[in-house]
C-alpha cells in the first residue's frame, strides 16, 4: 500500500493528496502461514492525478483527476449520486437492497458486474452436538437451501447460484464444466433424509454472518428449519471490531461461537480461483477453515502449482472444486454481483476483481466539462 503521496510508480494515476492505508495485525493460520487483520485509515480526500507518462495510452487515463471522498458515508453518497450533480460520480459496493433506488434515480444508472466473489459458509466440522463431521449432514445443509429464492427474493436478482466455490462468470465456464459441476439442487426431502441419517442435532445450530448479509442468513435459517426441522440461532456481527474479532478467532482456530459463518470472499483474478477461494475455506492455511486439514484437498491443491499451462491449471482447479463440492466442505450459496451507482455522464466499465479507473471517462455533458 502507498503511505504517502508521491510520484512513486508508473500506473495510470499518481497519488497527489492524502492516503488510504491499513494497519495490519498478524494472525498465524498454520505453521509459517499468516493472514493479516486490517484496520482502515483514510484521509477525507484522496486525490489521484493522471500520469502523462503512462505507457498504455489506449487504456487511459481518460480523466485528469480522481477524487476519492471519505467525508460522506455510503448512504449519503448514494443520495448524492442519485439526486445531485457534481458531488459524487461513482459509488461502489451498492447494497443489493438499494439497487432500485439507483435504478429509479434521475442522475445515476446502476452498473453490475459478475464479480469473482462468493457468498459462502464456513462449516465447523468439529462442532459438538451437531453431525457436521458427517458429509451427509453437510450435504443436507446444502440441499435444504433454495438458492434461486435467495437470488430472487433477497438479492433482487443481482446474484447467481453457486456451484462449488467457483463464481459463474464468463471466464469460469471451463473451470466449472469438466465433470458437470452443478449447484446443489433444492431438495428438502433428500436433505431431511440425509440429516436424519447423520444423526440430527442435539442443539440449535448457530449461524453467524456479517451485517450486509443478515437477510440472507435469516432466509437460510428459515429454509433449514423448514426442511430439516432444525432450530437455528442467527447472530449478526455488526461493526468492524466485531468482524475483526470473529476473523481473528477463526483464522487462529480459537474456540468459535458459531457453527456456520456466512461471509463474502473474493479473488484477485479469475485464472485460479482455488488460490483465494477454496484454500480460504478448506485449505491448511485457510483463514476460514473450521475443521481438520483435508489431505485430499491439499494433494489436489498442490497439483495446481505443478501446472504452468492455463488449461492444466483449469483442469486441476476443477478437480479441487469437485472435491470441495462432493464433500460439501462449505455452504455454497450465491455469487453476488457487485453493484455501482454511476452518474449518467460517466462512461464506466467495471472490473470483475478490482476497482480501477484508467479507462473510465466523462461525457461531454459531465459537470466537470461544462
Amino acid at each position: 500500500m502507498i503511505d504517502e503521496p508521491g510520484p512513486w510508480a508508473s500506473g495510470a494515476f499518481t497519488l497527489v493528496e492524502g492516503y488510504s492505508r491499513i494497519d495490519t495485525e498478524p494472525v498465524v493460520t498454520d505453521g509459517d502461514d499468516r493472514t493479516w487483520l486490517q484496520t482502515e485509515h483514510r484521509t477525507p480526500t484522496v486525490r489521484l492525478r493522471a500520469n502523462p507518462r503512462y505507457w498504455d495510452r489506449a487504456r487511459g487515463p481518460r480523466v485528469a483527476e480522481v477524487e476519492f471522498r471519505s467525508d460522506v458515508d455510503p448512504d449519503r453518497a448514494l443520495d448524492l449520486v442519485c439526486d445531485t450533480v457534481g458531488e459524487v460520480d461513482v459509488v461502489t459496493e451498492v447494497p443489493h437492497a438499494r439497487a432500485d433506488r439507483v435504478r429509479h434515480s434521475r442522475h445515476a444508472r446502476l452498473v453490475a458486474v459478475d464479480a469473482v466473489r462468493v457468498l459462502a459458509g464456513a462449516i465447523d466440522r468439529g462442532a459438538e452436538g451437531l453431525p457436521l463431521a458427517d458429509v451427509r449432514a453437510r450435504r443436507a445443509l446444502n440441499l435444504a437451501v433454495d438458492r434461486r429464492a435467495l437470488v430472487r427474493d433477497v438479492l433482487g436478482g443481482h446474484a447467481r447460484p453457486l456451484a462449488g466455490l467457483t463464481p459463474p462468470t464468463p471466464l469460469t465456464a471451463l473451470h466449472r464444466a469438466p465433470g458437470r459441476l452443478r449447484s446443489y439442487p433444492h431438495d428438502p426431502g433428500e436433505a431431511a433424509r440425509l440429516w436424519r441419517a447423520a444423526g440430527g442435532a442435539e442443539r440449535p445450530l448457530r449461524l453467524a454472518t456479517l451485517a450486509p448479509w443478515e437477510a440472507v442468513a435469516h432466509t437460510v435459517a428459515a429454509q433449514w428449519h423448514t426442511a430439516l426441522g432444525l432450530a437455528v440461532e442467527v447472530t449478526v456481527l455488526r461493526g468492524a471490531d466485531a468482524e475483526r474479532d470473529a476473523r481473528r478467532r477463526q483464522a487462529a482456530k480459537l474456540p468459535r461461537d458459531w457453527d456456520v459463518l456466512v461471509l463474502e470472499q473474493g479473488a484477485q483474478s479469475v485464472d485460479v480461483p482455488p488460490l483465494e477461494l477454496h484454500r480460504a475455506f478448506v485449505g491448511r492455511s485457510g483463514e476460514f477453515r473450521a475443521g481438520p486439514v483435508d489431505p485430499t484437498f491439499e494433494r489436489l491443491f498442490d497439483r495446481i502449482r505443478m501446472h504452468t499451462s492455463q488449461l492444466g491449471q483449469v483442469l486441476a482447479a476443477n478437480r479441487v472444486d469437485r472435491h470441495v463440492t462432493g464433500q460439501a466442505l462449505a455452504l455454497f450459496l450465491v455469487a453476488p454481483r457487485v453493484l455501482y451507482a454511476v452518474n449518467r455522464e460517466v462512461a464506466f466499465r467495471p472490473y470483475a476483481t478490482t476497482f480501477e479507473l484508467a479507462d473510465t471517462s466523462t461525457r461531454r455533458r459531465h459537470w466537470s466539462r461544462r
Binding site: M1, I2, D3, G6, P7, W8, A9, S10, F13, L15, R21, T24, P26, D33, R34, T35, W36, Q38, E40, R42, L48, R53, W55, V63, E65, V66, E67, F68, V72, V88, D89, V90, V91, T92, E93, L171, A267, Q268, S269, V270, D271, L275, E276, S285, E287, R305, M306, T308, S309, G312, Y351, A352, T353, T354, F355, E356, L357, A358, T362, S368
Partner: protein, 149 residues
Amino acid sequence: MLRVVDPSPLNWLYTTYNTVEEPVRVTHRGKVRPAAMSRYRWRDGGRTLEIRVRRGERFADGTPLTTDSVRRAAEEQFRWQAPHPPGTHFNIDPRTRVEVVDDRTVRLHLPEVDGLALGKLRATHVMSERFWRDLGFGYARKGSGEGHW
C-alpha cells in the same frame, strides 16, 4: 474530474492498483495479462519464469522502469515473511533467485515448480528508486514491510 465514494475495505489496494503497475494486471473479466512486462514464458519445466520488461516505460518521476526495477521489486518482497495483507498464499518462494539476463529480460529461478507464480506477480509492485529510498512499503512509517505491500 471524477468524484468517487468507495466504501470497500480494499480501497487501500485499489489506490495502489490505480497508481502502480505490476508485471501483470487483470482484465475487466479478471484474466491475468501482461502489464509492466510485455510477455513471459516458462522455462526449465516450470522452474524458471522469464519476463520480458516493456520497453520505454517510465515512472511518474521520469526515471525509467528497467529490468533492475523488476529485480528490486521481487527481491524487496522476498525480505519479508508475510508482505501481502491477504496472507502468505501470495508469497512467491523467497528462495527464488532473480537473474537480470539483459536490458529487457529477467528470470525468476524458482526452487520448485509453481505455476501460480505468474498470477502472484500481481502483488509484485514495481516501484521507482525514489520510492524505495524515501518511503518503501511501510519502511519509513513502520520500519517493516510485513503485511504492508
